[in-house]
Every structure is written in structure tokens, then in C-alpha cells.
Symmetry: none
Subunit: 79 residues, 2 copies
DNA sequence: TACCATTTGTCCGTATGTATG
DNA sequence: CCATACATACGGACAAATGGT
């Protein structure tokens, strides 16, 4: 799994956003399927939940995912 | 029918409580008559049952309705 | 009596939303 | 950025109560 460098010049949340973006582009995270929950991202990448949220927020702003309260965040199908 | 905005700053259960309060005030929901069941509220407003329950709880706290287990929740007559 | 459908009561697990150090 | 806490919301499961068959 792609690693995150907490030191490097790029903010962690941006690194995670890029990783998730690539996982979506590659089909690893498929349309209409949920991406890992914030808790899972936290565990899998060794980051704080707030940082995971921020990364997901980036993808929301890019319209790559849609979030449903109480359910999760899903990969948006291509129109 | 009045809509609920799952986003917006006001919690869904409060929005539903306000809607039901207005339906009672307008007479749409009449004294000694049942309000929609939790299952009906769930369907009609597209929310979870727990959220519907919470809205009804608000009205109970305001003494606007009375709930009978196994029967339903009824609009309280004005004293 | 024994079911049965409906409704409310309760509990659990999971996830997101927000706020504070 | 991290850590914590609490609120809000969804979904499922089962129990208790009610009224009818």
C-alpha cells in the first residue's frame, strides 16, 4: 500500500487525497462503492481522523465522491 | 409536503419536530387523533426511525402529544 | 386459547458532523 | 496535525404492548 510521509513537504491530507484519487482512477475504489471509512483510513495510513476527513473533503470538492451521513462516502459514478 | 434538508444547519429531528408542530397548530393533525407512526414518518420524510423517534420525543417534552405503547402517538387536547 | 399485524421501546454497531485543546 | 469528546444520523435486531382474527 502506498505510504504517507508525515515529514515531506506535502501536507499529509494532500498526500492521502492523491492516493485516494489514484485508487479511484485505477478502479481499486469502484463507482457507487464506499471508500474506506474515516476510522479505516486512520488505521490503514496511521493518521488522525481529522486528517482523513480533510483528505476526503478534497475529493468531495472535486466531485469524485459523495458523502451520506451515517452511511459512508461513495465513489461518484461518471456521468 | 414540507421537505427536510439533511444538510443545512438544523438537525433533521428538529426540522421534523417543527413540521409536526405546525401540522398540529394548523389542525392538520387534530386533537385526540394519531400522528403518523414512526414507520410512516420514516417513509414520508426519508429519514431513519431513530430520527423520527427523536422528533416525536421533542413534542412529548412539549406536551403536544401523548404516546401509548403498541397504539401510537396522539395529539393532546388543549386543557 | 393461540396466533398475527402494527406500533412503540430498547439496544447495538457504525459513520459522519462539530467543537475544543 | 493529533487526540478527545459529544452530537447527529443510519440500519438492524429484538422485546413489549395493543387490538384483532
Amino acid at each position: 500500500m502506498e505510504e504517507i510521509d508525515p515529514l515531506g513537504p506535502t501536507p499529509v491530507y494532500r498526500q492521502l487525497a492523491r492516493i485516494l484519487r489514484e485508487r479511484i482512477a485505477s478502479g481499486d475504489l469502484a463507482p457507487n462503492r464506499p471508500i474506506p471509512s474515516e476510522a479505516q483510513l486512520r488505521q490503514q495510513y496511521g493518521i488522525a481522523r481529522g486528517t482523513a476527513r480533510r483528505a476526503v473533503q478534497v475529493l468531495r470538492d472535486e466531485r469524485l465522491v459523495v458523502t451520506v451521513t451515517g452511511r459512508g462516502t461513495y465513489v461518484r459514478p461518471r456521468p
